[in-house]
Symmetry: C2
Subunit: 215 residues, 2 copies
């Protein structure tokens, strides 16, 4: 079985940004409104952090529940782990997610400022200062034969695309325009030389799903 | 976690038939051409019995790989297990699938003609003469907390729909007309009073996916 590197449920604006500018503790996505960009996921039955019962079980739910299927590790950028830049001022920050992060696997956080590994429930964060190919090798080894999820942000996905290391991507394009921020692409068509793509409007929400796989 | 009863990857013709007439050992789907009806699954990377590497990883593949996700048992009609009718003439027939059936769970075969249970690799077939609610209760118990797949054929799915026991259905409607055979419905719209539905044309194939979930 081939181990894949997969982007799952990554959201971008219609002009190609994964997050806005001015990310902070209070605004993890900067000037982007997470409600606008992610409401399609939150409406589904399989959304991991939903608190009320119910939720839809149509197409959007298929995509949301694939998030964990056969995933053995995640790779993310430091910006997904927290809003701090530069050397760590203190190590009390343990990510956005509280005591039960939604990953349940080893997570490799790419940063030039390493720190000791950190375990919260069944998620362990490793902080690695290495190029994409090296981090992918470490993550695949940690994944025990399963696939590796590339969690973002946009600039991290960009690095792995530029190194031609990504096997599949699911990107939900929302109708919102951001104007500036972390850019994934100018247009999804940029990937068509290397990837097949299915473009599927969400029947329940306002996003358009883009499902890419390597040619 | 609620245990669901799910129909997965069930194929019908545009006029609502799951199989044609005249089912036999040579023609498990009667006068229906399985190639025409099922080619959308066979093109995907996750198709369980594909022999060559490759295959698509777009929308159709999401649907195909959901077939096994969180399934702990299957319920099927006798016609899916084999073409024989009436009392078993001999017990040598062990299903269409050879030594490695693609189910990997307990399977409950509904029939008025019971026979001893039968284990092939990690699939065990139980032959039960009972009404849908009773069979579902047995299958849920055997599924160990996981969901139960309702495998068809059309008349078995019909019985469970009539008893209002089905939670979700994925039905792929192909553009082929059969004229006669085992009917699932006159039209998918019949289910709209009790189910939400997403109708999604396959971007890669010729079928239209219908994803139903209970209101």
């Amino acid at each position: 079985m081939t181990q894949l590197l997969r982007v799952q449920n990554f959201n971008v604006s219609s002009d190609g940004f994964g997050a806005g500018e001015g990310k902070s503790l209070e605004r993890p996505f900067g000037h982007a409104d997470p409600g606008e960009m992610f409401s399609w996921c939150g409406a589904t039955a399989s959304w991991p952090t939903r608190t009320d019962p119910g939720g839809t079980r149509g197409l959007d739910d298929y995509l949301v529940r694939d998030y964990h299927r056969n995933i053995g590790a995640e790779i993310m950028g430091r910006g997904k782990f927290g809003p701090q830049r530069g050397p760590w001022q203190d190590l009390e920050w343990q990510g956005w997610w509280g005591d039960e992060p939604p990953f349940h696997t080893p997570v490799f956080v790419m940063t030039h400022h390493t720190r000791p590994s950190l375990t919260l429930s069944d998620t362990t964060f490793h902080f690695v200062d290495a190029d994409p190919a090296t981090v992918l090798e470490q993550a695949k080894e940690a994944a025990g034969g399963k696939d590796v999820r590339l969690g973002g942000g946009a600039n991290v996905i960009r690095q792995f695309l530029d190194a031609d290391l990504v096997d599949t991507l699911h990107v939900a394009v929302s109708p919102v325009k951001l104007g500036s921020g972390s850019r994934l692409w100018e247009s999804p068509d940029e990937l068509r030389d290397r990837f097949h793509v299915d473009v599927v409007p969400s029947p329940g929400g306002s996003v358009t799903h883009h499902l890419f796989w390597r040619k």
